[in-house]
């Protein structure tokens, strides 16, 4: 499948700060590609460079197989952007907003009317078409933000944290909508800090840090990159330091913490982790309550690859 996005060796500096360090990105047609990374890792800079909102020092960007430049309006016409901030005009109604942004791409009024109707229907805003943005709830605003970005039916869609501050129902609707866009042929670049969202909708994911990719693959491939095989949680009365030390001494346990009546154990991939843990607890005479095991999540991958220390 041909690459829709092909970024090679992108270098971007802000003074002495290296924002993008020979960044490489390839996205195939029809993918939902997740771009993850801590704040300041360079993902927004990368997107801005791809959209030609920023100049860059070195490297090349090809979209749809052609070099992207600020004046390639033919390529821009095939791109849609849903920024993190709600980017709409307060003075226009919902319908007028979608129409106004669609008019930047589509000249014919009749075609535009149809596209606007479809976009409003897509995000479920048809009933709110005559309202001004300030009359909308946060979730509806986000949906309007998306409608403005997709009305012209872009082939490549950049979604930058579109579900920030959105209630679960709206988030669910937005994520379903993104999958529908993919099903209709769009390629989506999706950035978010919500790992479960990324895991849910993205076919491939890149984790960035310090301006470069630290891992890339499907969510399952990424999970296999880390030492965590599973996380075991055991409800337990205070185990005592000696028991904790014995548990930590198990080969399969990489991390053991007791808090709030729960013993949380990060375990390396192993066929016997649960049995080994139970064996130690039984020997110590501890009586466990509920026990459950969780497979690793993208969040675990993210924290392991990018570290647990706080970022600016």
């Amino acid at each position: 499948m041909p690459d829709i996005v092909n970024v090679r060796g992108l270098v971007k500096r802000y003074g002495a700060t290296l924002a993008l360090d020979h960044f490489v990105l390839r996205i195939a047609r029809g993918e939902i590609f997740g771009l993850l990374g801590p704040n300041g890792c360079g993902k927004t800079t990368a997107i801005n460079c791809m959209l030609q909102l920023l100049t860059y020092d070195r490297g090349s960007i090809e979209l749809f197989g052609e070099p992207m430049t600020p004046t390639r309006y033919d390529l821009k016409a095939r791109i849609g952007v849903v920024p993190q901030q709600v980017a709409v005009l307060d003075e226009l109604t919902v319908r007028e907003n979608v129409d106004a942004f669609c008019a930047l791409y589509v000249a014919d009024a009749r075609t535009r009317r149809r596209l606007v109707d479809e976009a409003l229907d897509f995000v479920g805003l048809t009933d709110h078409a005559k309202k001004r943005p300030r009359k909308l709830s946060g979730g509806l605003l986000r949906r309007l933000n998306i409608a403005c970005g997709i009305a012209h039916r872009p082939e490549l869609l950049f979604l930058d944290e579109p579900t920030v501050a959105v209630d679960p129902q709206s988030r669910n609707a937005i994520l379903d909508g993104i999958r529908r866009l993919r099903d209709e042929g769009a390629t989506v670049v999706y950035t978010s800090h919500y790992m479960e969202e990324v895991e849910r909708i993205c076919g491939r994911v890149m984790i960035m840090d310090a301006g470069r990719s630290v891992a890339e693959g499907t969510p399952d491939e990424l999970k296999r990159l880390i030492d965590l095989g599973e996380r075991i949680v055991v409800e337990l009365d205070a185990p005592g330091e000696a028991l904790l030390e014995r548990v930590r001494g198990l080969r399969c346990v990489t991390r053991a913490v007791y808090a709030d009546g729960e013993l949380r154990l990060d375990c390396a991939p192993s066929a016997h982790a649960l049995l080994d843990v139970f064996g130690v607890l039984e020997e110590a005479g501890a009586v466990p309550g509920r026990v459950w095991s969780e497979p690793p999540t993208l969040n675990d991958v993210f924290l392991e690859l990018c570290g647990r220390e706080l970022r600016d």
Partner: protein
Amino acid sequence: MSHGTNGPRTALRLVRFDLTQALRNRGIVIWVMVFPIVLASIFMVMFDGYESGEAATDIHVGLVIDGSAGTTRLADALKEATEGTSEGAASAGAADAAPLDITTYTDERDAAAAADAGEVCAYVLLREGERPRMVVPAREAGGIEQAIVQLVLDRIEQVSETLAIVAKQDPAALARPGVARALAASLAGDDVISERIAVLRTQSSEFTRYYYAMLGFSSLMGAQVALLLVVSKRADGSPAGMRRQVCATGPLAQLASGLIASWIVVFGCLVVSLAFIRLVAKVSLGGREGLAVLACAACALVSCAIGTLVGAVPHVPTGAKDVALTVLTMGLSLPAGLFGTPAQHLGDWLSLHLPWVQLVNPAVQVGETFYRLTFYDSLAPFAASLVTLAAMSAVCFAVAALLMRRQRHASL
């Protein structure tokens, strides 16, 4: 499905959205559309008080005649003269000519009663064979009104003597209609004491300057429209601007649509303001209303240029630009004379000592444009003002273009 568009037709297509955006913006509605009308209304009320306070009121004079042909003729001449003076004053728009309101009595007692009652400030006795005599109630003696009546009385005496001479030498002439008019002209007598010379083509009022300064102020306030629209199209100005910058329509077409829309809005507002001060406040435009609309067009252009320039300044938040533009509007309107006599004195001082400061002040130039249009016989000074406004606009647009060139957005 999508296809990028960048031509002039694209700009025109987008104007509708920009117009809607501007016309629904609360700040613009208040400050650009409504405020100038409110300000003009305030001026109207304020100056109306001044004008009625300063205008000379009618002087009510009684005239007692004994019914003889001589006194009747003199009375007629006197009445015609005072009516002529009144009409002349009205046509010139002068407020300093006090017309006499003459009430004729045949019985002196009636006139005396009217004087006692304050209905007339004095009365003049015209009796055959006697010199005209003015009778003033004691409480009114020495007033300005009596001085004016006394002046008229002196004229009456002169005319009375003239009549006596004419009656003696050519009695038939007194019956001819032209004689009464000639006598009236003699009584009106402006040509004897002073001569009114029209320096300006239209009678000037000291309050006209306020209205023209208000138009300058309105023009600068109108820059808010261009600021709003430019900022909403720039990636570094607003999230919507970022979205617009990455779209299929080039920045030139988008800016053009914004400028066309802002020009239309400001031009419309200025024309409405102009119509208000012309039709409601009765400020004269010297019969050059059509050219005044042309002046509005030029002023709207300057307004758009200033708004574009402020909108193009990089690395400044939109709120700060709004405040800066308001401060700029107030500051530049000061020497235009909007804020009272001290401000007008400042403007006059600047015009005298630092004329270039006034030349580059758009608020002053807007007011000057209307002033030159209204009061100068030649249109050349008006044309020069239009050129100045156009040059000012060109400079602002050029600087804005330089600032916008290659501006990019730092973050989504």
